[in-house]
Each structure stands twice: as C-alpha cells, then as structure tokens.
Amino acid sequence: MDDTGTVVAFYVLSALTVVSALAVVIVRNLIHAVVFLILSFVGIAGLYITLSADFVAVTQVLIYAGAVSVLILFAIVLTPTGDRGNQETFLRLPALLLALLVAFTLGYVAIDTDWAISDREGFQQTASTIGEALLDKYVLPFEIASVLLLVAMLGAIVLVRPESSVEGE
C-alpha cells in the first residue's frame, strides 16, 4: 500500500469520516446529525475500497448509507418536533472520559502490538469467494440470519401498527 494515490485517498477519507462523525456529536439539529452520519458511512465505504474490499463497500453504501439512514430519518420525522435537539444528558462528562480512555487504550494496543503482517497484494475479487463461503462453510449462520431478518421485520411491523387496524376485534 505504498502508491501515492492510496495514501492520499486513505488520509482524505479518514479525515472525512472522523470529521463528519465529530459533527454528529456537535450539531444541535438531529436531522443535520443524520446527514453527517450518512457522510461518515460513505467515507467508511471509501476506506473499504482502499482495503480492496469491493463487495463490503457496495454493501455498506446500500445498507448503511441507504436503508439504515432512511430508517433513522423516518424515526425522526415520526417523533415530536420538540424532541429534535441533539443535547447531552448529565452523563456527558463520564461519557467523554470513558470515550477518551477507550480511544487511548485501543490506539495504544494497535500501535504497540506486533501484528503478524503478511505482504500479499490486495484481493483481486471478493464477491465470488464471499458468496461461496456463505453457501458452503457458513450456510447455517446464513440461514439463521435470514430468519433473524424476518423476525425483525415482523417485530417492527407489529410494534408500530395502530391498535385499531387489528382485524376481528
């Protein structure tokens, strides 16, 4: 990973991701916070591409920048206008302290550990290998994931359904 393009792309995308994540914390309007969150998700998709993870990058754009963000926006517009602030609770200082501690610890471990680095090139294609793994070695978790998604979808529908729409009552 020595060519200039990758290095520049990494620094630009990391800066974009981290700055927009910080903006989610700072901005006072929840809708603006979601917009910055989407920007952060797109930045992470770019970082996946610099890691030659094309399938995961596309999935990230589709599911996070697309589906999850729209879900969050829907939840915001379905809740009261008065609650669209983005303020902190009284736990603000302990949370800040804990977050700094976690960042410091993880960063220290990342730098200090002697990782077993391999010198292979980036992946040529990932989608076919991932697909084969999902339907071969990991077929049981794959099937369980589909059941989980079905249950989550049914649960979400049942939870937000108005009481009066129940048939036969």
Binding site: S14, V18, A110, L134
Partner: protein
Amino acid sequence: MSVDLEHYLIVGAVLFSIGLYLALGKRNFIGVLMGIELMFNAVNLTFVAFSRFVQSPNPLVGHVFVVFVITVAAAEAATALALAVLLYRVRDTINIDRIDLLKW
C-alpha cells in the same frame, strides 16, 4: 510514506470512541442509536483491515463476518427505531432522561 494496519486500527478506534460517546451521552433516543451504528461501523472497518493485512489461510473470512454484522445491525436498527416510535406514542417523549419509570 505508506498506509499500514495501524492507521486503519486508529481510525477504527477513534470512530468507536465517538460512537461510544454518542451512545452514552446523548439525550435523544435516536442519537443513542446513531452512536451504536457508528460503533458497528468502526468494528467492521477493523475486521476488513485485519482481513487485508494479517496472515491467514483464508483471509476473506473477515469479509464474511462483516456481512453478518451488517445483517444483524440492519435488523437491530429496524426494531430499535420501531421501539422509538412506540415509545413516543406511549410516553410522549423520546428523551431518555425523562423515561424514568424504573427510577426510585
């Protein structure tokens, strides 16, 4: 100048901490959920970075795991946001410091 595993791990650590601060410190229920999503993303970034750089007989297993994490995160988001809407319907607020029924 080159980009190594450590760079990605540090970006992941910073994102995770920002997500942790959002999840612990925000007053709005949806703000807390956004923090949790950010933490999922930081963990996924770390998985993909390890998958790219570290020695392994089949390195793409990290990507498979990321696909599962994204699936579970999507299911979690759908259910939790339905809960947010329901919470507003029952309690007329989604401010988590005003939901104190269990507090004595």
